[in-house]
């Protein structure tokens, strides 16, 4: 894992992302979020912790403006995310360029014929000229050690390689906000370390990061703030990682540590 790189969280000013009393059910029946409120401030590194099915991915999709709540509001950069605002010629493209989303399932995120084209996709959509696109592609291939895979079809790669390609494709757009859905899952230890270092560095450069995970270690080492989603699809806790990750009863109730783990997560430090 990376060195702890947490900084004093700048929690002043307008939130960059905001969720107010949001409710969401799939197909009108399966609850995923039941009254969730949350604000993310510029430059924060927020870990959203929760057991399988607690609603982490749903929360990220709401923040990405891909789905819209049944009740409540989602705002980004002070603008409410609604179909109309997202289709707005000024706000829509700017929002997409500034918010990068790494999905949980890399298979659905990789839809180009080669790794190189996958990385070039977002910069091209942003209307950058071919020279700049080529520069970004080369930089991302180098940064994520993908040079030898540049001509391969992404869907033929291994799970960890796919994750790296997906991240390169997201970073190529130069986002200032990153929504990451279980970025560490399926990576081998060295790739995990590498990714953690990369995320810490992005954070140091002022990027706002929201990372959904059920990996307590990742949250401990990287995040400046932790939000726990309970199995009742509500926020069970919101605060600094030191306090929350020591609260064994809370973590056990949220199904984040095994009932067998008597020492609790905090004791492992």
């Amino acid at each position: 894992m990376a060195e702890p790189t947490k900084q004093g969280e700048p929690k002043q000013g307008e939130p960059i992302l905001q969720v107010e009393d949001v409710w969401y059910r799939y197909l009108g029946r399966f609850p995923a979020l039941a009254g969730v409120s949350l604000a993310v401030y510029p430059g924060e590194f927020l870990a959203v912790l929760g057991a399988n099915g607690s609603g982490k991915s749903t929360l990220l999709r709401l923040l990405a403006g891909l789905i819209h709540p049944e009740r409540g509001r989602v705002r980004a950069f002070g603008v409410e995310l609604r179909p109309e605002t997202l289709e707005d010629a000024a706000f829509g493209p700017a929002f997409r360029a500034r918010v990068g989303v790494l999905f949980q399932n890399p298979d659905s995120q990789l839809f180009n014929a080669t790794v190189e084209e996958e990385i070039a996709f977002a910069p091209l959509q942003m209307g950058l000229d071919q020279g700049e696109v080529a520069r970004r592609v080369e930089a991302m291939l180098a940064l994520l050690d993908l040079g030898h895979l540049r001509d391969r079809p992404p869907f033929q790669l291994s799970g960890g390689e796919k994750k790296r390609v997906a991240l390169a494709a997201v970073l190529a757009q130069g986002p200032e906000v990153l929504l990451l859905d279980e970025p560490m899952a399926g990576l081998d230890p060295r790739s995990q370390d590498h990714l953690a270092d990369l995320l810490a560095e992005l954070h140091r450069h002022g990027r706002t990061i929201v990372m959904a995970t059920h990996d307590l270690d990742a949250a401990r080492f990287l995040a400046g703030r932790v939000v726990v989603l309970g199995e009742d699809h509500r926020v069970a806790a919101d605060g600094p990682p030191e306090a929350i990750l020591r609260d064994t009863a809370l973590l056990r109730a949220a199904n984040l540590i095994s009932a067998r783990d008597r020492r609790g997560a905090g004791a492992r430090e």
Binding site: L66, R96, G100, S108, E117, L124, Q125, A134, D151, F155
Partner: protein
């Protein structure tokens, strides 16, 4: 508590191979597997030795290759004689050889399957009934109409020379065209083919739809493969007990899963595209161009024109 069959001791030693073969796969499963293999090959999903990164054809400019192949396909469509088509086909084989493609595999892919189907369809056209002409082989010859109740059969029925020739040309044309298509897809990444089409002035939206279709076909072929593998991994599938009926049920179920998964995938892929700025307009990444992309189409055009003209000039074919 675990059920009893999970906890009882192993049932004696594993039997040694007895030399008897388990019943073969059902016709349906075999057909589906064949379709999957064909698609995987044609879509460029399987690595072809010497294809993608080996030979000179793989390194040639994709725009040139696409144009060249289109010209040769045009020549095959216009050719009227079997020997012209045969010559064009031999050219494809020679190209495959020179660029290091596995020629045996190419010929198998080209000639097993689709041309045979074409032949079956073309079969009636060889008969004097459909295509009058010089009889080659008499099927029957009674002189006058034969009446079988309401049915009237002609008094004479023969396989005609003109009929056979027509069918032969049709089958050869199919095979020749397929040969060039495989030559293209085995040496060119699909993105290159798309770029070639764009260079020929095909509208971007059409190319984008083609690219997405290709992507989905590839994914569906993969899912199909996974489903077959998953099924083979379960007992019963090998035990030979599965006859045609369970196989059909499996295929029906598999198609359902396939449709559902592709629906989910479609939604997810679309979301991923949207978050990366896709707004319905397609922009393709152009790598630095290679030199002389017009050389291949020029040569292909010359060969094609020569082939077609040789049939039509006096003294030619």
């Amino acid at each position: 508590m675990l059920p009893e069959w999970l906890t009882r001791p192993p049932a004696g030693p594993v039997p040694r191979p007895a030399g008897r073969r388990v019943r073969r796969r059902s016709f349906l499963a075999a057909t589906l597997a064949a379709v999957q293999a064909f698609l995987a090959d044609a879509l460029g999903n399987g690595p072809v030795e010497g294809g993608r990164d080996g030979g000179w054809l793989a390194r040639a400019d994709p725009r040139g290759k696409v144009t060249g192949v289109l010209l040769l396909l045009l020549a095959a469509a216009l050719a009227r004689e079997a020997r012209t088509l045969l010559a064009l086909h031999l050219l494809a084989v020679a190209l495959a050889l020179s660029t290091g493609l596995p020629v045996g595999r190419l010929l198998r892919r080209v000639w097993i399957g689709i041309p045979l189907l074409t032949a079956a369809i073309a079969l009636p056209a060889t008969l004097s009934w459909v295509r009058p002409g010089e009889p080659l082989l008499w099927l029957w010859r009674v002189g006058e109409e034969v009446r079988l109740g309401p049915l009237a059969l002609p008094g004479e029925l023969a396989v005609t020379r003109q009929g056979v020739q027509g069918a032969l040309v049709l089958v050869l044309r199919t095979g020749t065209s397929l040969g060039y298509l495989f030559l293209l897809t085995w040496t060119t990444r699909f993105s290159g083919i798309c770029r070639g089409l764009r260079a020929l002035g095909v509208p971007p939206l059409f190319v984008a739809i083609l690219a997405m279709t290709h992507r989905y076909l590839v994914v569906l072929v993969q899912l199909l493969e996974e489903l077959f593998t998953a099924r083979r991994a379960r007992p019963g599938a090998v035990a030979g007990a599965a006859g045609a009926r369970p196989a059909q049920a499996f295929v029906a179920g598999a198609i359902g899963v396939l449709l559902h998964r592709s629906e989910v995938l479609t939604r997810e892929v679309h979301e991923a595209m949207v978050t990366r700025g896709f707004r319905g307009e397609v922009r393709l990444y152009a790598r630095p161009n290679r030199s002389r992309p017009w050389l291949l189409p020029l040569l292909a055009g010359l060969v094609g024109a020569a082939a077609v003209l040789s049939e039509r000039l006096p003294g030619g074919g």
